[in-house]
Amino acid sequence: MTFDRKIGDTILAVDQISLSFGGVKALSNISFSVNEHEVFAIIGPNGAGKSSMLNCINGFYHPQEGTITFKGNTRRQVRPSEAAREGIARTFQNIALFRGMSTLDNIMTGRNTKMNKGIFWQALRIGPAEKEEMENRAVVEKVISFLEIEAIRKTAVGTLPYGLQKRVELGRALAAEPDLLLLDEPMAGMNIEEKQDMCRFILDVNDEFGTTIVLIEHDMGVVMDISDRVVVLDYGKKLAEGTPDQVRANQAVIDAYLGVAHDDDV
């Protein structure tokens, strides 16, 4: 907890990634790099390839070309479970929680990669499995306290308001103690107060644990406020990369957002 926030070396390098589904090119030739302890945003209009990019990073999609280097390991194809073990956690655009389970149990699933005692011991909750569960529960309780969701610890997630469900999902990702946290539209559909809360939590996570954060977000105000650097995608291509101020001043970005016709439009 005594980390001093300083932008470090490259933790994630995306090199010339191309991804297509049949004839549809979702991403073409994308490169950027994210530094350690950075808050990095991917923005762009609908269909720009933002979520596809995230899915490539955590191994859910396998790009046809290019490489992704995470913590020095260059890889072409990786399974999501391996990515999780390497220290990548994520949240989803549409909430993907176990609706009938409590907040606590949902967040416990985030510890899945850290719990490796056999199913037999876990089912009986004896011996080493008990110790393991207690250690992992302690981490989860820290997350619950951090996100200030003590009051809903035992509440079934499906009955919670949307903003809180988003927070639980962030909690599950945090429980994995990731080095890299991918957030897919963490603030979509929230009211102003919920957005402010979420911004505070994202910055606090970055600040307290030094977690590197890559996020996708539509709300420009939010992105420009909390990000160190931004990459802009449009139609699967990279338009710009830089600090929020640089990006804001970029003509290509302005055009994309104001809807100027694309040359390659048929």
Binding site: F146, A151, E208
Partner: protein
């Protein structure tokens, strides 16, 4: 000190001395608990003593001097209670402050109390203090308990409680016996604490209470109810309120019982269930909320459960209070009640966290007879008391077995009471405050030379010697036709209905009585839902004709009640309206303890009050509201005004 003080509390006459005494006598028993990371952590009296010693030494090292004031801001946390004792060890005055105050409100207290040190809970409170620090010349040091988010604060005068206590521990290791010697310096007539009364009028006043005030009063109340170290309390009401200081601090030190601090202010009800306290205090509002929730949840229960609940609650209301008070009850009823305890009352009490209650008090406002009877019929020994900050809480309290819903009981041990000619209640007791800090004029107008305190409340004794409070003496007015008008009495009768959360009655120097109503969003919202009535929020719901009908029914019932009382029959409510917004402490319309600020309301809603007396049906309004983040906005609405039924005396009898 006032002349009539009872014998001082013996040699153990301060909280630091009580702490050391408890650590000797019952050192291994739990003194305080807190739920942290989902687990209840406890500290024994011995451990608490060590923590407080380290804190006191730390405070001293960083320059806290005898006579200094120490502000305490935050939710109920063990460390904040310890800070209180630590200041007392050093001969300082703890000044607990309301944690939801805005910076400007804090600034007033910090400045007035000449606070030099502040121990605060977290970043939020630190930020508030830093915001006003340049206007508080005495404030030198801010100590925070929770380090979250505090890493970038590099001000030299902002430090963590942890680092302060570490320095203190080092000092203690080098100076054995320092703590005991320091604790022995205080005496019973030193100032133990300064609490700022929220005050419905004017600026808050700093009430100085001595150790004798608090300890003698707490001890009398402990004896009255036979509390001991095996009891359990829950500390969840604001620390700035004198009641919390008595129930969670003074009485815990005197009786040696354990107090538990909830995990957060949102989890109080769950924590209550987990801890199962034996001794509990809650303002009527909380009991009311609990009853509302039980009623709402029962409506969603299965048919069988609904039938059981209805059947056995009927039995309980008939026989429960009598069983609790030890009055004769038929054998059959006793058997049935025991069955009810097994099937309904026991499980319900367990669900609420009331299973182990030996004793529960309520005070501050009148409690609805329905609510009072509901809990007593379940076998929950809920009693009323009457108190004030100036009395170190206890003035009157009900005895076991002699409990009524509409009185506050006979005078507490050591309290003398008299009713002045204007109906005002005066008292004299060992708990009578020393003085208001830096406000001799207010002290003189409140406390007489010979130690009587003017409460400002109007009341009278009933046939059994119980005190009955009707209103603030200054608020009791007259209608133009000469009828007595007691606004609070009327408002309370309105508020006893679950659909009405707040009411403001008008009538002094007017032709008739009239009222503003705030509906209870949860209860009325639920009612609306069941009728398929869609609404977008409070304002929308409050403007509905159906809701007006619902409220009209309540107002009519109040009028019928009033008409039965010869003195008050003339003050029945002729016109009423439902306000378009909830009265809110953030808008200055209520005090932090949720009492109505009449003057503010008269100023702000003058237009609506005029409308109540001008015979119009609709009045357009625009109101400014303050959001939680401090921004302001406006609400526009057309407020409707309705006429209520009034009853003659005969009609009332016929209706019954």
């Amino acid at each position: 000190m006032m002349g009539n003080s009872k014998p001082v509390s013996g040699s153990v006459d301060t909280f630091p001395k009580l702490l050391i005494d408890n650590a000797h006598r019952i050192g291994e028993r739990p003194a305080i608990r807190e739920k942290d990371f989902g687990i209840w952590q406890s500290w024994t009296w011995l451990e608490v003593k060590d923590e407080i010693a380290a804190m006191a030494a730390g405070l001293k090292l960083f320059g806290f001097e005898r006579g200094d004031s120490l502000a305490i801001v935050g939710d109920n946390r063990p460390q904040l209670y310890w800070a209180m004792t630590a200041a007392q060890v050093l001969g300082g005055k703890p000044v607990p402050m309301y944690q939801d105050s805005v910076p400007e409100e804090m600034q007033y207290v910090l400045e007035h109390a000449e606070v030099s040190f502040a121990v605060v809970e977290d970043q939020e409170q630190t930020d508030k203090l830093l915001e006003v620090m340049d206007r508080c010349p005495h404030l030198k040091e801010i100590v925070y308990e929770d380090p979250r988010g505090m890493r970038h604060y590099d001000q030299p005068f902002v430090r963590s409680l942890d680092s302060l206590m570490q320095a203190g521990r080092k000092f203690l290791a080098e100076h054995p016996g320092w703590f005991e010697a320091e604790a022995a310096k205080g005496t019973g007539d030193d100032i133990a604490i300064m609490v700022y009364t929220s005050g419905t009028t004017g600026r808050a006043k700093g009430v100085m209470l001595s150790f004798d005030n608090l300890i003698i009063t707490a001890r009398n109340a402990v004896e009255w109810d036979g509390l001991n170290e095996t009891d359990e309390g829950l500390a969840y009401l604001p620390m700035a309120w004198v009641g919390d200081n008595i129930f969670s601090y003074a009485q815990s030190y005197v009786a040696g019982f354990c107090v538990s601090c909830p995990e957060s202010s949102d989890t109080v009800m769950a924590d209550l269930k987990e801890i199962g306290p034996t001794y509990f205090f809650a303002p009527p509002r909380i009991f009311e909320t609990i009853l509302t929730q039980v009623s709402i949840r029962m409506e969603d229960a299965s048919k069988l459960n609904q039938w059981l609940y209805k059947h056995f609650m009927g039995l309980a209301l008939r026989t429960g209070p009598a069983i609790l008070d030890g009055r004769p009850v038929s054998f059959v009823d006793r058997i049935l009640y025991a069955l009810g305890e097994f099937l309904v009352y026991g499980p319900l009490k367990n669900e609420l966290g009331f299973s182990r209650f030996r004793l529960a008090y309520t005070a501050g406002e009148a409690i609805g007879p329905d609510i009072f009877d509901f809990f007593r019929s379940l076998g929950v020994n809920i009693k009323q008391l009457y108190g004030s900050t100036e009395a170190s809480v206890f003035i009157c309290m009900q005895k076991d077995g002699d409990v009524k819903p509409d009185t506050v009981g006979p005078p507490a041990t050591g309290v003398e009471l008299r009713i002045a000619d204007n109906g005002e209640v005066h008292f004299r007791s060992p708990g009578v405050f020393v003085a208001y800090y830096k406000n001799d004029e207010a002290t003189r107008t409140t406390k007489t030379e010979d130690g009587w305190v003017l409460t400002g409340d109007a009341g009278y004794f009933d046939a059994d010697g119980h005190l009955k409070i009707i209103d603030r003496a200054k608020d009791v007015g007259k209608l133009n036709n000469g009828t007595m008008f007691a606004p609070k009495y009327i408002e309370n009768k309105l508020k006893f209905f679950p659909y009405i959360t707040e009411a403001v009655a008008f009538g002094h120097e007017k032709d008739y009585a009239a009222a503003f109503i705030n509906i209870d969003l949860e209860a009325v919202g639920n009612w609306a839902e069941r009728r398929g009535l869609a609404y977008s929020g409070y304002t929308d719901l409050a403007m509905r004709d159906e809701v007006y009908e619902l409220v009209l029914d309540c107002v009519n019932k109040v009028n019928r009640d009033l008409s039965a009382d010869a003195a008050l029959a003339g003050s029945q409510i002729r016109h009423f309206l439902i306000l378009h917004k909830l009265l809110d402490a953030d808008d200055g319309e209520l005090t932090r303890t949720r009492k109505v600020r009449r003057n503010t309301i008269v100023e702000r809603y003058g237009q609506l009050i005029d409308a109540l007396y001008s015979g119009v049906d609709v009045c357009p309004v625009e109101a400014t509201v303050t959001f939680e983040d401090g921004r302001t906005g406006t609400i526009k609405a057309d407020v409707k005004i309705r006429q209520a039924m009034t009853y003659g005396e005969q009609q009332a009898q016929a209706a019954e």
